[in-house]
Symmetry: C2
Subunit: 328 residues, 2 copies
């Protein structure tokens, strides 16, 4: 399995997903409700989660086509969380485009998010009756856990300190959960047995944890042209990322106090942002993040080892290597 | 079938629903997410929609118990719309209690609403596999139509005039849809055939339209102690209710211009509110609303005529008479 073959596969699945997403809310009225929904769905992105659904279906020997309703449901649900999270986080940009509550207004964004979740479930119900109960409860429990994760993330805003354990619990719910649900749904839709569903759900969890810690890392490493959002925006918003949590654990008392003071202030001046980055660097936070990402991706690969070797499994393995080097 | 027997039946079903609702989010963490969910579910109310689900199941010869997951799903979904609508409408009170975004904050209310919708679907998936696809698509299409209705209602805020047809389309989606879905789901869960499902869905639609026009009417007629919200609050917020729409159609040109001017102003002084009520009265708007409510309830009863006479049908018929005289 070569890198080129993976890229070709990802492109193929992505076009399939894009075509379906475009059709979903096409022509529905009123525009005041569906226009922001269509705008959101046309926002592009890697479509990583629905791709995981399709690859997981193939990994257990099923057809990608059979997992398409689950793939669309996952992407719609993901977009629902993005639209609502952007309101809560007061984010003005998403993938280089103004967010829904900025283009329209907040009420419109609340409704658009609600609509995306309803559309997600509509897709889910296209699954064959005999699998619906299992698929539906996995999905719904996933939505609840993601909401729990977002609530924890908001809680962190008003706390000064966050332990590594608290942080890991939060990202497991807020980010890793959806990766896990994606792979689990794909395995179910592909007709996998309980063992495969469990293995792929775990694979998704490790992948999702790695993905979030990478995100925390890319926030300081990746320039705006590549990431589509201002560099170090997590620091500017004083978010409790992996880098921050690691720094708190390893800093000297003086550094700790300084960092806590910076994160308690209303607004960070540009030179303070740079000094925070330097502190993270000097405490080895980026290095530590990279090591952890590698470990988590290795754990993800390990889960695949328990499955019969199919082309889908091979693609999922290759994907962990490709993600290791991602820049955006 | 006597009025007393209906009241006893309603009380019995209401306790059943209340007990289940209390258990739903019990003990789940984090509190920052589930506390507002529990607060919302403890808010009481008539529980009319889930009761319609249960009575509709009995109307087609099924057991109320079999329709309980659908009943809970409907009530949870209703509460999801209330929490999000209250944010959009900046409402500070709901059933005499401060709204979620007032007790906590707006972000918490967005998340709580999202959670209520996920919990609703979780209940829905408890239905037997062979009925899930039909139940799920009816429910999801219902959620979308309710969102469409809310979007239309918001659109009306920025329009000066609203035709009777526009108004009826809006309330059919925003209010009547959920009544219709409730009865349709009940019929499905009770094992009714397609004809019964169609008849009960129509029954629910007429009932819902009547209910909304009554709501518009009670806004000016019902004192705060009974309705749980300030009298004439629709007028104060210059909402395009049935009374307003009727007044626009029947007023003299001078009255029309005055009314449009009042509704275009930022804030209505108390004496203007009273003069609007007097204008509605003099144009026969309240009378017209009462007549229309009677007509719609009669149409609802007519739908029941096509069903075999069961105790459930009898309860649903009695309910239309009981609703005719409601004060809150």
């Amino acid at each position: 399995m070569s890198r080129d073959s993976l890229q070709k596969k990802l492109e193929e699945l992505r076009s399939l997903i894009e075509a379906e997403l475009r059709r979903l809310a096409d022509g529905r009225l009123p525009d005041s409700f569906y226009e922001p929904v269509r705008y959101t769905l046309a926002g592009g992105g890697k479509r990583l989660r629905p791709i995981l659904v399709l690859l997981s279906a193939e990994a257990v020997g099923g057809k990608a086509q059979d997992a398409l309703p689950c793939a669309l449901a996952v992407e719609l649900m993901h977009n629902f969380t993005l639209v609502h999270d952007d309101i809560m986080d007061r984010d003005a940009l998403r993938r280089g485009r103004p967010t829904v509550h900025v283009v329209w207004d907040q009420d419109t964004a609340i409704l658009a998010g609600d609509g995306l979740l309803a559309l997600a479930y509509q897709q889910l119900f296209r699954n064959p009756p005999e699998r619906l109960a299992r698929i539906g409860s996995l999905f719904s429990e996933g939505v609840l856990r993601i909401c729990e994760g977002q609530a924890l993330d908001k809680e962190f805003e008003s706390r000064t300190e966050v332990s590594l354990q608290d942080y890991m619990e939060m990202i497991e719910k807020k980010t890793a959960q959806l990766f896990s649900v994606s792979c689990g749904l794909g395995a179910l839709a592909g007709g996998g047995d309980e063992r495969s569903v469990a293995a792929l759900s775990s694979y998704g969890k490790w992948l999702g944890l790695a993905f979030q810690i990478q995100d925390d890392l890319l926030d300081v490493l990746s320039p705006e042209q590549i990431s589509g959002k201002p560099q170090a925006s997590d620091i500017r918003r004083r978010k409790k990322t992996f880098l921050f949590v690691h720094a708190l654990r390893t800093a000297s008392e003086a550094e700790r106090q300084w960092l806590l003071r910076m994160y308690a202030s209303e607004r960070l001046p540009e030179d303070a942002v740079q000094r925070v980055i330097q502190l993270f660097e000097s405490l080895g936070a980026m290095e530590q993040a990279e090591t952890l990402v590698e470990d988590l991706l290795a754990k993800a690969r390990q889960e695949l080892g328990s499955l019969p070797e199919t082309e889908g499994v091979s693609h999922l393995r290759e994907l962990t290597f490709a993600l290791a080097g991602r820049r955006a």
